[in-house]
């Protein structure tokens, strides 16, 4: 009987996992970092040296401050702790291009590691607030997978950003929702938005959830009139409480910038960027661009197709004869023209598509505002913005992975889309770090992570009540096959990369390489989206309380 006591009181702690990851993070801190490092260094300098009214005006460096105010405050607070030897190293100089050495690197890396504590606190809170032992065990696997996420390691600790802290705040918001503490949920999400506005993509789910779960209550009182009943649908007290908390947060954030608000918003929402990056994030537009490139080749190589293509897409054939222009496009350099044969994509279209798919996801949430529906809707909002958004960066895949991870242990059917998503999502982050020294590290780490959590999720995930049909197994195998096929893809693209110095001809494949890579990941992410949608809209048992 003693064993019963042991299993029931077993405390799942992330402390050891944190220490292990800490060791790796310190070791890789001296490795490659991207220009984002200088971006954040510049922000430290701006917030430290200038009065608050100049923060969003200053533009000596091209890396201007373009995060919302809380992040600026955060940088300001950090800058107060810069030791003098780091400041002498050039950490706090407002210059065009940062000139810094090891002390600055150690300091900034340290701030990332320190701020990531928020993520670990949030994850531990999720475990501790789980009621049954079974649930704690499941949540332990899920939270550990997030704590060790290769995405965070690559983006935060190699590339350099503060996503760990941001996602920590997001998890505070999510767990508050789980505990039905709606005010706290609204508070955390408002705080999060004031840190980084990319989370606006998830805002519809939070908004609908709070509105329906906290501010509306549908009950019809026959004795009262129609107008009174409609009036009573709204929980006015709750609405005022929630509204004032959110407004208060935004006021604290934006009030000090009252006289520079237009500049501030101009910085936050730059609409002058292209649809895709030089490297395509694995979304719909990657597939779309790829189709365009294929059609160009078909058009050029097979004369017979020219007429139907011309009739079908009504493009300007003269552009295609301009080989120089074509070169820029096939090499992946973003020019004025992104598509030659397929119709152009406008920001408005991407916005409408995103909104459409988000609304589709929100309808079930509005009808059934349970916590799991909320997570599902949030995941789908992330998917929609990632797949259809304008100028999406591959880093945004974390927006999908984080909410979904908390869901997967609920049902084994969710594992297939999840595995596909993490494999292709994290895999698509590899080209972000292009230096040779980190080449092995990022791949082996991701592989290790995948092996550990593939088996552990399988072990703890709940089996559906109904007996599984054979389709599930076949689909499962296909997914596993697709994931395994990813290994040869990585190997071949890496080999081409490795030998391109030796064989000049391979340099022509450089862009093709990235294209294959992102299309492969893109197909994976889209398939996982389809799989998840199917479960979200068709299978009811997962989402009810």
């Amino acid at each position: 009987m003693a064993n019963v006591a042991i299993t029931e009181t077993k405390h799942y702690s992330l402390l050891n996992i944190w220490i292990v990851s800490l060791i790796l993070k310190i070791l890789i801190s001296i490795g490659y970092h991207s220009t984002d490092f200088d971006v954040h260094r510049n922000w430290l300098a701006i917030t430290n040296k200038l009065p608050i009214s100049k923060w969003y005006i200053e533009n000596t460096s091209q890396w201007t401050l373009d995060y919302p105010p809380f992040f600026a405050y955060f940088e300001y607070i950090l800058s107060l702790f810069v030791p003098s030897f780091v400041a002498n190293d050039g950490c706090l100089d407002i210059v065009e291009v940062g000139n810094y050495g090891l002390p600055t690197i150690y300091f900034q890396r340290f701030t990332v590691i320190l701020s990531e504590m928020i993520l670990f606190i949030a994850l531990q809170w999720i475990i501790d607030t789980s009621k049954t032992h079974e649930l704690r065990r499941r949540m332990y696997v899920a939270t550990a997978s997030l704590a060790l996420s290769p995405g965070l390691l690559i983006i935060d600790h190699v590339h350099f950003q503060y996503n760990g802290m941001m996602y920590g705040i997001l998890l505070f918001c999510i767990n508050s929702a789980r505990l039905k503490r709606y005010l706290l949920c609204g508070f955390w999400f408002a705080v999060l938005l004031c840190f980084k506005h990319i989370y606006l993509y998830l805002a519809p789910a939070v908004f609908v959830f709070l509105l329906r779960g906290y501010c509306l209550k549908f009950h019809w009182n026959k004795k009262k009139s129609f107008i009174v009943n409609v009036f009573n649908y709204v929980q006015w007290m709750n609405l005022i409480k929630l509204g004032s908390i959110v407004l208060l947060v935004f006021t604290i954030a934006f009030a000090p910038f009252y006289n520079v608000l237009p500049e501030l918003f101009g910085r936050l929402f730059p609409f002058s960027r292209g649809l895709t990056h030089a490297y395509w994030a694995p979304n719909m537009w990657a597939i779309y661009s790829f189709t365009d490139r294929v059609l160009i080749q078909i058009y050029k190589r097979i004369p017979i197709t020219r007429f139907p293509l011309q009739k079908l897409f009504k493009f300007n054939a003269l552009l295609l004869s301009d080989s120089k222009l074509l070169q820029t496009s096939t090499r992946g350099i973003v020019g004025d023209i992104e598509f030659f044969i397929l119709p152009n994509i406008t920001p408005k279209l991407t916005f409408l598509l995103t909104l459409f798919y988000q609304i589709m996801a929100l309808i079930p949430l509005f009808i059934q505002p349970t916590f799991r529906r909320f997570l599902g809707a949030m995941t789908l909002c992330g998917y929609a913005s990632f797949l259809f958004g304008w100028h999406v960066h591959e880093k945004a895949i974390l927006l999908v992975i984080f909410p979904m991870t908390l869901l997967v242990t609920r049902d084994r059917k969710l594992l297939s889309p999840y595995n596909l998503l993490v494999c292709c999502g994290y895999g698509s982050l590899f080209p972000l770090i292009f230096t040779s020294n980190e080449w092995l590290l990022k791949k082996v780490y991701t592989l290790l992570w995948y092996i550990i959590f593939y088996f552990n999720f399988k072990k703890v995930a709940r089996l559906p009540k109904k007996a599984e049909s054979n389709d599930g197994i076949i689909l499962d195998r296909m997914v596993n096959g697709y994931i395994l096929l990813f290994i040869p893809i990585i190997t071949i693209t890496s080999l081409i990369d490795l030998l391109k110095g030796k064989y000049i001809i391979l340099q022509n494949f450089e862009f093709l390489n990235l294209m294959i890579y992102s299309v492969y990941c893109g197909i994976g992410v889209i398939s996982s989206w389809n799989g998840f949608c199917w479960i979200y809209f068709v299978d009811d048992s997962i989402w009810t309380e």
Partner: protein, 505 residues
């Protein structure tokens, strides 16, 4: 299909009904009682790995072990290396690269003669072949890395990464499988639980000294040590022929392997039962050695002599830099250079004085009690290599790796002594500190030292009971920490190394 279904059914039970989980853990408990209870129960390393304790998951733990080892090595490899940006001579990294350059560009007869002033080849033939092989691959990828004479001091990022990967792969092919194999073998012989085998292997593979020297400072010691561990495996299996083959390979990769030679020679003699076996073993040694030097003998017989001269440079000093051995320590009292003595003879006498009594004792014990053969084998290797390290001539601080491997292997048969074994390892790593400081690897040193001690658990590292040994252990740790704070010129704890021999017995 049937298999998956069965699995599913099992999982339904364990997941669906909470009581099943309890019974599962009960079963686990029961299972553990059959074997000796793990002393790592409270260590973080157990905490982290116990999710893979169930028999069907244990294979995953092994892969996790290997992949973690690779990750750790690549992460350390991001740092600087010996001789980073320090012309004109650079350091060991350049030496290894230069050997690749010269072996692929010169005929084999000239390998040991070429520009001896600038990192002339001074390791035995297997290192030369190894360099040749890696150099061929490297120059296939990018010929500029090993361009003859033009590539001196080349330090591009790609080259650095290539070199790092070669040392990781060398370790992955030889040392890591050897450790896993011996874990399996000794596990069977001494009834060690699978989980403990994995944990001990992890502890051995996470030791900072080898990682820092091979993947930080940059060398290929793991190849030599891998050959040695294979030799030990064959000795445990009582296959003397293969053992001597592996051992000849070991000393043909790096002369440092000779530290083991005295003991292995007498051990094999001790184990030989008839004249036929003696001839077989002798022939194996001779033929292996003959094959290894054949390319040199065939092209230029003169170069055999040159190899010997290059590999055993008796005209250098008694020790290099600051080595934590006897000579260096006592040098502060007596200036050996001023004494007109044959230093090599002196060190030979001292080494023999230190080893012979111990060896006599060990062989007496083996004769008396055959069951103690394997523990005594490992103890013998450990004490001999340590004596050689402490007393012999021309010791480099990196030679500490040689005694540390058999000492680490002792963990498999003597887990309860982990406190002392890890203490020796900590001192070993500590003795490398001046070297690492020169290489700019202080951060990696601190992090890895913390990692290994934390993984084992501070409960096992710091002894609680009050006796002389424990007092020594705790005070050395204290002094080490003090030293790191002061980082003074003379390292006081070096003297404490002398206690090792006493403790070893």
């Amino acid at each position: 299909m049937a298999k998956t279904k069965k699995k599913n059914v099992k999982d339904v039970k364990s997941v669906g009904v909470p009581t099943e989980v309890v019974s599962e853990s009960k079963h686990l408990h029961h299972h553990n009682h059959n074997q000796t209870k793990s002393i790592f129960k409270n260590s973080p390393v157990y905490e982290l790995l116990h999710y893979f304790e169930r028999a069907p998951d244990q294979w995953a733990a092994r892969y996790i072990l290997i992949l973690t080892a690779i990750i750790l090595r690549t992460a350390v490899g991001l740092g600087t290396y010996s001789g980073f940006k320090t012309p004109p001579m650079f350091g060991d990294f350049e030496a290894q690269r230069h050997w690749m350059e010269l072996t692929i560009n010169l005929p084999i007869s000239e390998w040991y003669y070429f520009d001896l002033q600038y990192w002339g080849l001074d390791y035995p033939p297997l290192t030369a072949y190894h360099s040749y092989f890696l150099g061929m691959i490297g120059s296939f990828i990018n010929s500029a890395w090993f361009a003859f004479n033009d590539s001196r001091g080349a330090e591009s990022n790609d080259l650095k990464f290539f070199m790092r990967v070669t040392s990781i792969i060398s370790e992955l092919i030889l040392y890591i499988p050897a450790i896993l194999l011996i874990a399996n073998l000794l596990g069977k012989k001494f009834n060690i639980g699978r989980m403990d085998q994995i944990i001990v292997s992890l502890i051995i593979l996470t030791q900072p000294h080898l990682i820092l020297i091979d993947h930080g400072h940059f060398q290929y010691n793991s190849v030599m040590l891998g050959f040695f561990v294979y030799s030990v495996i064959e000795l445990v299996n009582n296959n003397l022929i293969m053992a001597s083959f592996w051992f000849v390979s070991c000393i043909n990769f790096k002369q440092m392997g000779l530290y083991y030679s005295l003991f292995i020679f007498f051990y094999i003699l001790n184990q030989i039962r008839d004249i036929f076996q003696l001839i077989l073993v002798g022939a194996t040694v001779l033929i292996t050695q003959f094959i290894y030097v054949l390319p040199f003998a065939a092209t230029n017989p003169e170069s055999l002599k040159q190899i010997v001269i290059r590999v055993f440079p008796f005209n250098r000093g008694l020790f290099e830099d600051k080595v934590a051995n006897f000579w260096c320590t006592t040098n502060t009292l007596l200036k050996y250079r001023n004494l007109n003595l044959g230093l090599s003879q002196l060190s030979l006498i001292a080494t023999l004085l230190a080893t012979i009594p111990v060896n006599c004792y060990i062989f007496y014990k083996i004769k008396k009690n055959h069951k103690l053969k394997i523990p005594l084998l490992l103890y013998g290797f450990a004490s001999n290599a340590l004596s050689f390290y402490l007393f012999s001539f021309q010791v480099h601080e990196k030679s500490i790796l040689v005694p540390l491997v058999p000492i680490l292997l002792l963990l498999f048969i003597d887990k309860d002594n982990i406190t002392i074994i890890q203490w020796i390892n900590n001192i070993g790593t500590f003795s490398l500190y001046p070297l690492l400081k020169k290489d700019g690897l202080i951060m990696q040193y601190i992090v890895l030292q913390f990692l290994i001690n934390w993984l084992i658990g501070f409960d096992l590292i710091l002894p609680k009971k009050l006796n002389l040994n424990n007092l020594v252990i705790n005070s050395t740790y204290f002094l080490m920490i003090i030293y790191h704070f002061i980082d003074a010129l003379y390292s006081p704890p070096i003297r404490i190394l002398l206690f090792l021999v006493i403790l070893e017995l």
